[in-house]
Amino acid sequence: MATGTRTGGILARPTSMEGVWGWVTTVDAKRIGMMYITTSILFFLWGGIQALVVRTQLSYPGAEFVSPDTYNSMFTMHALTMIFLAIMPMSVGFFNLIVPLQIGARDVAFPRMNALSYWVYLFGGLLLSMGWLFGEAASSGWFAYAPLTESAYAADRGMDFYVLGLLVLGVSSMAGAFNFIVTIINLRAPGLTWFKLPVFVWMTFITSILLVTAFPVITVALIELMFDRYLGANFFVAAQGGDPLLWQHLFWVFGHPEVYILILPAMGIVSEVLPTFARKPLFGYPVIVFSGIIIGVMGWMVWSHHMFTVGLGTVAVGVFTVTTMLIAVPTGVKVFSWMATMWKGSIALTTANLYAIGFIALFVIGGLSGVSHSMSSSDFQQQDTYYVVAHIHYVLFGGSIMALFSGLYYWFPKFTGRMMNERYGKIQFFLLFIGMNIAFGPMHWVGMDGMPRRIYTYTSNMGWDFWNMVSTLGAFLLGFSILLLLHNLVRSFKKGEIADADPWDGRTLEWSIPSPVPHYNFARIPNVVSRDDWWARKYVTGEDGVTHPIPQGGAYAENEEDVDVHSIHLPDPSYWPLVTAIGLALMGGGVVFHLAISIVGALIMLVGIYGWAFEPVNEPDEEHEEHEEQVIN
């Protein structure tokens, strides 16, 4: 594609899409999506190991599996890893893979910035996790309440890895979010109006807006904490007149939209999976879209329910009680709509669909415990107990993770050209479902029984022994089922049954193109006529209400010989996103280790940005070059 000679840019442009270097310099959203998903799965495993250490320590009273400080680091880093390095990036991986295809586009609006987002995520994640290498992993909780995080109480560098790691990760999230907002607004195929968009695209859009508006808040909080720790500022230092509650407000104003950032993509995924496997459209599409928007907006009005016990006063607590209760409504509406989608459908119990249905069940449980938390006066009993731990894991594991795994099984054929093994998948699903409930179900009871969270041990006279042991066993079963999932992924990737373009008789545009997806996505950008446009090209519903397949020729003819795919030009690969990301990561890391590193990092970042700015999207000479067809493998 590129000539390899010096053209507008500073260094020779990468030329090939093959091999490791092809991946390292890629700007193709499909490849970036796969890198996000692979990396997030690895971090998920790491977060899972940390969880198993926590559970082992708690399996019986007085255990000495790890020291108290190590334990405190374990639950801190487990949460950070799962939230920022597993769930969010896996969701972004799906944004990358699916959104361009569902809107009939060839890529995202800013492909190089897309690559930057991935590399900054990888390096930021490594920086956040790096404390373990030095025996200085953050140990003040993922919520990092001041004053515990001030230098006086958190003397080692754990909080520094926390602050800089999250600041760097914030760049990744925001860059990605801006990218998807512009992509969805600008790059929709002709005819694809807003209310024909698949719900997954809507949820991506709302999540991206939440990311762009919420991350600045945590950025401010982190910078203020950094100033306290390094420069003697007193934003949160009580003794000098600072206010520990300021941290909590800033953190939770970010933190609550953050949990919707974690769940909306998952809701988007099941909104795709359920209709496909019920062979019916999503029930109440406009209401589901509006509910998503309302959740996004109301998510800003509930943050202090994380602070019910800090002494805000009856009025403030009362207001947040009411807003928190109300936010249950749009969520409930979605659940009912999903169930109505299944009602009188023709339901195929593929693994992907089992995960989606399992999502509904477990998310309902998590949502119910959430409603009980909203009732502030009784929540004073549950706050900071294992009941909260049960709630968060039902919504995050039973919710987000289940939906993401549904997405893996559902879209695996599209991107790899192979089917995942269904029999294996079902066994894996059931073990996961059972393990998850055994691990987290008892936490409701042990929490109502008074067991605090974030404790490294407990005594036998409390009566918590039995359920803690049960919970630990469930956690190990869950861990085992994850290993099976990994095995299924790897095995299917290598030797799975070859997949058609449309193995599930899908409804949306990604199923109208070959599996695996060619580099250019669509040979011809589709003209969209209706919601579920692909389904509408395959089937027609007569006036008698019966739906028939449209005879051959009516379906969208994806005939590659008809279109000169060589004339489709996509942005060339580039080094600059990687270079810029390295610079940014060094800037962050240098603040923890040595400022000289930051200065080097800043220079590298400037070189990266400069090179990027002067590099054209495509190298100019290529129209006249003979080039091989580039296919994503």
Binding site: G313, T314, I347, S378, Q381
Partner: protein
């Protein structure tokens, strides 16, 4: 398999009730005072609402999954897009249920956050990792074990010395946080006397290494027993003449002997017991860095309700505080065995 659904409904109801163990020491299902009782009432309401949803929605989901399972040759189902009235109903109905739930929730909120006029005052200060209690109206200061009279409201003014802590005695009511820079107000009332070991409580906001070890006890006693306790607490510690020879020696060490103190973070300095711990009646007084020990022997527990109060545990503590409470702000006092024995004898005489 569909016929198993009623069984599943019953099964799910059974599951919900398994967690009910009010006899456990920190159970929230055993309200022994009005604050806890009101909060339990709100919980009962929401529990039953949740239970109704749980036993209807989840079996329904299972039912649908099985009933509409695709069979070979099934036609494509009717492509229903929505149903306006149904969608309105399931939006409005939850709002109504929540509106009804909000009323007791908010009423109880006001009730639990506003102590009755004339409540006895207790100032609670959270430290890493122990509780300081001061009764300002009575001129008493103690630590980790609280006495309150049965049947009378007690107002807690919560503060914190270092980081955020949270004060909770489940059988008496919900918790509030103790935050440096502010005073949070809450109240409890015990309607029954406590068992001999007291009502159990614990710090509920993660506060560092030994958060898990920061516990407390509340003893609710009849008014006359409470008055006796107050009188005893007002007495200063015994003078040397009233002590055994060994205890008097210990008293002398407590007040006058410097020892090498090795802190958890490795710092080393010369300290004296009395620099951090107050025993009323000694020459030097007023230190609040560590718990007030004037009546330490009258407590059933030591180390913020972590271990039983006896000579053995006290000796182990003086020997190696870090082993018993990791990270403890109490340094390891370098003492000879003879000095330790004398100090323990003294401390055990501080009734």
């Amino acid at each position: 398999m569909i016929r198993a659904i009623p069984l599943l409904i019953l099964g799910s109801m059974l599951m919900l009730s398994v967690g009910c163990t009010p006899e456990h020491l920190m159970s929230t299902f055993d309200p022994l005072g009005p604050v806890a009782a009101e909060q339990k009432m709100v919980w009962d309401f929401v529990f039953w609402a949740m239970a109704v949803v749980f036993v209807t929605v989840l079996p329904m989901l299972l039912y649908m999954t099985l009933k509409f399972k695709r069979k070979e040759g099934d036609p494509i189902p009717p492509q229903t897009h929505g149903h306006r009235n149904l969608e309105i109903a399931w939006t409005v109905l939850p709002i109504l249920v929540l509106a009804v739930a909000a009323v007791p929730t908010l009423n109880v909120l006001k009730y639990v956050l506003e102590p009755p006029a004339g409540s006895m005052q207790v100032n609670v200060t959270g430290h890493q990792w122990w509780w300081e209690f001061e009764y300002p109206e009575l001129g008493i200061r103690t630590a980790n074990e609280l006495y309150i009279p049965v049947g009378k409201p007690v107002q807690f003014n919560l503060q914190a010395k270092d980081v955020i802590h949270s004060f909770w005695v489940p059988k008496l009511g919900g918790k509030q946080d103790a935050i440096p820079t502010r005073t949070n107000v809450m109240w409890y009332q015990a309607d029954v006397t406590s068992p001999p070991e007291g009502f159990y409580g614990q710090c509920m906001e993660f506060c560092g290494t030994s958060h898990a070890n920061m516990r407390l006890r509340v003893h609710a006693v009849e008014s006359d027993a409470f008055d006796i306790w107050v009188q005893a607490q007002k007495e200063p510690g015994p003078v040397a003449e009233d002590l055994s020879e060994l205890a008097a020696e210990g008293r002398d060490y407590f007040e006058n002997m410097d020892f090498t103190a090795t802190y958890a973070d490795g710092a080393v300095s010369k300290q004296r017991c009395v620099y951090c711990h107050t025993v009323d009646g000694l020459g030097i007084s007023g230190a609040r860095t560590g718990p007030n020990l004037t009546h330490v022997a009258s407590r059933r527990t030591l180390l913020s309700a972590l271990v039983t109060n006896n000579s053995e545990n006290l000796t182990s503590w003086l020997d190696n505080p870090q082993a018993m409470k990791p990270g403890s702000r109490m340094p390891n006092p370098t003492l000879t065995d003879a000095q330790t024995v004398a100090l323990v004898e003294y401390l055990q005489s501080l009734k």
